[in-house]
C-alpha cells in the first residue's frame, strides 16, 4: 500500500454533501497517506470547503460540473442524462483508469444503473451484487446480495460466493473465508432449487474459500460464517429487518431508561459502557455498501450519513483498491470455471 491510490469522489452525492464528503475525505486521508482524491461537483461549493483542510487540498483535485443527480431522479433518467453529473463523471474516472475506485453518497438506483452501463459486468460474472459488512456477536461478516438482483439462479449465487470471499479477504483480512448460503434450514434438502443447487456446486469447488454449508437467519448475527450469500430479495429484506429490529431494541431501551428517576440515574452511571455498546452497533462504522462484479470498484455511502460514515466508505474503497479486489475475483473465477467444467463433464449434465 505504498503506491499512490486515486479515489474518485462524487462531491455532491448525499444529504450532507458537500460538507460530509470533504470532511470525510480528510478523516480518511489521515488513515491512508497514499490516497489522493478526484472530487467532482460544483467548484464554487467545493473549493472554499477544501481550503479549510490544506492537507487534504494538497492531495486533491476538484473537477467542476454543474450537473447533479438528485435523490428523486429515476435510475433510467440518470442513465440517460446523468453522464455529465458529479456522479457520472466520478464513475467515468474509474472507467478511464484515472481512479481506482469511486465513492458516492448519491441516489443508489442511479449509481447502480450508471455504473452497470458505464463499467459493464466483469467477464465470468452474470450479475453484479450489492455487498456490505454487518456486525455480529463475533467478527463482522460480509453479506451479499443486498438488493441488486431480486431473482437469482444457482450460478449467480456461486458467483456471489466468489466475490464475497474475496471481499472478506480484502476488506476484513480473512485469509480463508468461510462462506455460508442463507437458507430456511441447515439440512441438504431444505430451501428452493437455486439454493440447493448452489450448495451442491459450492461443495465441489476447491477455491480460495471454505464452504460452510447452509446458514439460517439467526446464524448471521452469531457470526458463524465470514460471508453470507443470498439472493437480492431475501438479502435486502433480511438486512433491513435486522436494522429495524436494532432500532426497535434501541427505542425500547431508551424508553426503559427514561421510565423513572432511578432508571435515569442508572443510565447516567452506566453511560460510558452504554456508549461503547452503541458504538459497536453504530451504522456509520459499517457505511459503504459496495457494488461488486463490474469492471471497476464502486462504493455507495449511505445518503444520510455524516463525515465519519463517509470516511468509513472511503476506507472500504481504499482497502478494495489496494488489494486489487477485481483482479483477485477474476483469478478465482478462472478456477471456478475449471471446476464447473469438470463437474459437468463428470456428471454429464449442465444446469
Amino acid at each position: 500500500m505504498t503506491d499512490q491510490l486515486t479515489i474518485a469522489l462524487d462531491g455532491m452525492g448525499g444529504d450532507n454533501a458537500p460538507d460530509a464528503v470533504i470532511e470525510g475525505a480528510d478523516i480518511a486521508r489521515q488513515r491512508f497517506p497514499n490516497a489522493r482524491f478526484l472530487i467532482f461537483g460544483d467548484s464554487l461549493q467545493l473549493q472554499p470547503r477544501l481550503a479549510a483542510f490544506p492537507e487534504l487540498q494538497a492531495v486533491s483535485e476538484v473537477r467542476h460540473t454543474d450537473e447533479i443527480v438528485s435523490s428523486e431522479d429515476k435510475p433510467a433518467q440518470a442513465v440517460r442524462r446523468g453522464r455529465g453529473s458529479s456522479m457520472g463523471l466520478a464513475i467515468q474516472a474509474v472507467r478511464s483508469g484515472e481512479a481506482a475506485v469511486v465513492v458516492s453518497g448519491g441516489n443508489t438506483g442511479a449509481l447502480m444503473g450508471m455504473a452497470k452501463i458505464m463499467l459493464k459486468t466483469m467477464t465470468g460474472i452474470d450479475r453484479p451484487a450489492l455487498v456490505s459488512t454487518v456486525p455480529t456477536l463475533g467478527e463482522d461478516v460480509v453479506m451479499l446480495d443486498l438488493g441488486a438482483n431480486v431473482e437469482c439462479t444457482s450460478d449467480n449465487l456461486v458467483q456471489f460466493a466468489v466475490m464475497g470471499a474475496e471481499f472478506a479477504r480484502a476488506v476484513l483480512g480473512r485469509s480463508r473465508p468461510k462462506v455460508g448460503l442463507l437458507n430456511v434450514g441447515v439440512e441438504e434438502l431444505k430451501g428452493n432449487d437455486a439454493v440447493r443447487s448452489a450448495g451442491e456446486k459450492l461443495k465441489n469447488m476447491h477455491g480460495a474459500f471454505e464452504f460452510g454449508g447452509f446458514v439460517e437467519g439467526d446464524g448471521i448475527a452469531k457470526g458463524e460464517m465470514d460471508v453470507i450469500v443470498t439472493d437480492g430479495f431475501t438479502g435486502n429484506i433480511a438486512i433491513k429487518t435486522a436494522e429495524g429490529t436494532a432500532r426497535m431494541f434501541g427505542a425500547f431501551l431508551a424508553h426503559a431508561f427514561r421510565s423513572s428517576l432511578f432508571s435515569r440515574l442508572g443510565y447516567l452511571i452506566s453511560r460510558r459502557a452504554l456508549a461503547r455498546f452503541r458504538e459497536r452497533l453504530d451504522p456509520r462504522g459499517y457505511n459503504g455498501g459496495v457494488f461488486l462484479g463490474l469492471n471497476g470498484l464502486v462504493v455507495k455511502s449511505h445518503g444520510g450519513t455524516d463525515e465519519h460514515g463517509f470516511a468509513s466508505a472511503v476506507a472500504v474503497a481504499v482497502r478494495m483498491a489496494a488489494e486489487d479486489l477485481s483482479g483477485r475475483i477474476q483469478e478465482d473465477l478462472k478456477v471456478f470455471g475449471d471446476v464447473e467444467g469438470a463437474e459437468s463433464a463428470r456428471q454429464g449434465v449442465g444446469e
Copy 2:
C-alpha cells in the same frame, strides 16, 4: 365466549413436557374459564402431575398412549407411523370434531406434515401457512408465511393475506387489519413477479381488510402494518434474522453492563426498568406459531419453552377457536373468489 371450548393438548411434545404442558394448561385455565382440555400421552406421567392441579383436573381428560413423536423423527416417518402418538391422537381429536383446536410443543415438521394429511387443506386455500405475532415499536403484528412454503405464487400470497387478516382480527382484536406485502421497496415496480402480481390483486380486493401496499424489512418493527405477508423462504429468514439481531443486541448490552463497577451499579439501579424492557421482548409472550389454512386449527408451541410460553400458545388457540377463525376465513375466501372471477373476466386474463 361463554360456550365450552375443548382444546386437544399433545401432553408429550416439547423439551419440558409433560410438566410445561400441565402447568401451562393450568395458567391458561385461570384466564379462560370456559376451556376444557383433552390431554394425550402417557397417563402414568400425566395423571400424577394433573393431580397437583385439582381445578385443572376437573376440566381435563387424559387419553393414554405410549407412542411419542420424537424431535429426531423425520416428518415422513411421523406421518407414516405417528397416528397413534400423543401428537397424532391430538390432531385426530380436531379432525373428529371433539376438540376445536390442537396445541403441541413437539417436532414442527412432524406436526405440519401430520396435520396437513389428517386435516387436509381448506377449500379455497392452495397452501397452508405458518403464522405468528411479532413485537414492534407499536402494537404486535401478524406475520406469515414463516416457513411452510419456500416457493409461493401470487395466489398463495393473496390467500395468506386473507388468512393473516382474520388471524389479526381474532387474536389481536384489529377490526379492519392493514395488510402489507413484504418487498425490497415500496414502489409498484419493485420486487419479483409473484409479489408485484399479488400487490395488483390485493389492490382490487375490497374485503375484510385494508391493503397497505408494499412494506420493506425495517417496516416490520415500525409496526406500520397489522399483517405482514411474504413467502415462506423470505419470512423464515426475516423472522430468524430479527431473533438473531435481538439476541446479539441483548448480549452486547449485558456485556456493556458487566464492563466496569460503575456500569454494574447502574444496572442494579435501573434493573426494574430493564426487566420491563426484557419482558416486552420476551419470546414466551409470542409463543404459539399457528398453522393456518387447514380444516382445523393447529398451534405449535416452541419446543424449548416453559409453562408460561405454553400458556401463551394455549391462549392463542382459545382466541382462534372462540372467534371461529376457520369459518371466517372461508367466508372471506368466497368474497375473494368473486373478486378474482370478476377481475379475470374484466381483464380477459387469468394467471
